[in-house]
């Protein structure tokens, strides 16, 4: 159902091409939805994977996110950039998953469960290195993952959005439902934590 809003032409988010795709989808254009799916699925999969730590769970949650986006089609109204909106859904679903299933949280001592493909890819990446160096590199990557994973949820979210998804402070604040000031303080504490946890590798 489309509610006529006289302020629509003042809505700043209408200039976001992804919001436009979502609105086309609302009018029945499935290709517009698929364009959003292709653009955001790989990014969200990585974001969720880095947040929850298990590939299989990340794949399930990513699919759920897009099922939710699809079903929101009929009542969607742009109140943020599409990216912020879809990341907020992803964040909420990931948090729910972590709360519901604490087992899903990777133990701090376990390396991330990356699935077979990435194992092969990472091995290919390290093939140019000698066996000792490759070993060291593998250890380092594990240490980085453990460091990220050991951050409190809020700090971890802020770090992932800032470092990997290149969000602005404002976008992080919107996604996390907090203030920019709080985001800056989260990032500062996260950086201190990372610096301490990665001391061996810097």
């Amino acid at each position: 159902m489309t509610v006529f809003n006289p302020n629509d032409n003042l809505n700043p988010y209408l200039s976001d091409p992804d919001v436009q795709l979502m609105l086309s989808f609302q009018q029945g254009d499935k290709a517009a939805f698929e364009a959003l799916l292709r653009k955001y699925f790989p990014r969200l999969l990585n974001f969720i994977y880095r947040f929850v730590g298990t590939r299989e769970i990340a794949e399930d949650i990513t699919q759920e996110v897009f099922i939710k986006v699809y079903k929101s089609g009929s009542y969607y109204q742009p109140q943020s950039k599409f990216q912020t909106w879809v990341y907020t859904i992803a964040k909420n679903m990931s948090l729910n998953e972590l709360r519901r299933n604490r087992k899903g949280m990777v133990s701090l001592d376990a390396p991330f469960d990356t699935g077979k493909n990435e194992m092969q890819r990472q091995m290919a990446d390290t093939e140019t290195l000698g066996p000792d160096q490759a070993m060291v590199q593998k250890e380092k990557v594990t240490a980085i993952r453990k460091a990220i994973n050991s951050l409190p949820e809020n700090q971890r979210l802020a770090v992932l959005l800032r470092r990997y998804d290149k969000f602005s402070y404002e976008q992080i604040a919107q996604t996390m439902g907090t203030s920019e000031k709080a985001v800056k303080s989260l990032l500062n504490r996260a950086k201190e934590n990372l610096r301490t946890k990665l001391v061996k590798w810097v």
Binding site: R50, T62, I67, I144, R163, K191
Partner: protein, 169 residues
Amino acid sequence: MNCESIKKLMPIYLEGELQPQESKEVKDHLASCLLCQKEISAFERSWDMLDEIADIEPAPDYVSRFWTELSLRTPWHEAILKNLSAGLSKRPLVPVLATTCIMIIVGFLSIQNYFNGRLSDEGLAHLNEGYFEMVANMELIEHYEIIEDIDFLVDLEVIENLDVLEGEA
């Protein structure tokens, strides 16, 4: 400022988020303090290091997997309604849908009653009650969106148990 307070400002300094005055103080301190130079480069490197985690790739068929999963999740009545309404204005279809549903349900009830051999006048009276209840429920269909939340099978179950209700009456 001493090394400890400089250290506290380092992450904010690196983000370029310090006030100009504070930023200058950190810069001046760094120029003359080897320890803090080491410290700030450790901050920088531990942040840069996060790049060394490789991205994972989605399964090659993730798009088709999505559409399959979606179709499995769509209940049969919703799928029928969606297909019926595709390309047509929703409103004119409502009476047609309502009539179709009523006919299917009444037909179903009649057959069931026939096989149960309970097509007595009493049974018919109850059937009529049920029928009018259904007609009342059909008003809901005018709020087309709500239909997603109606589970027809649950409603049918209630009607199937009409005999039990009769016994209680």
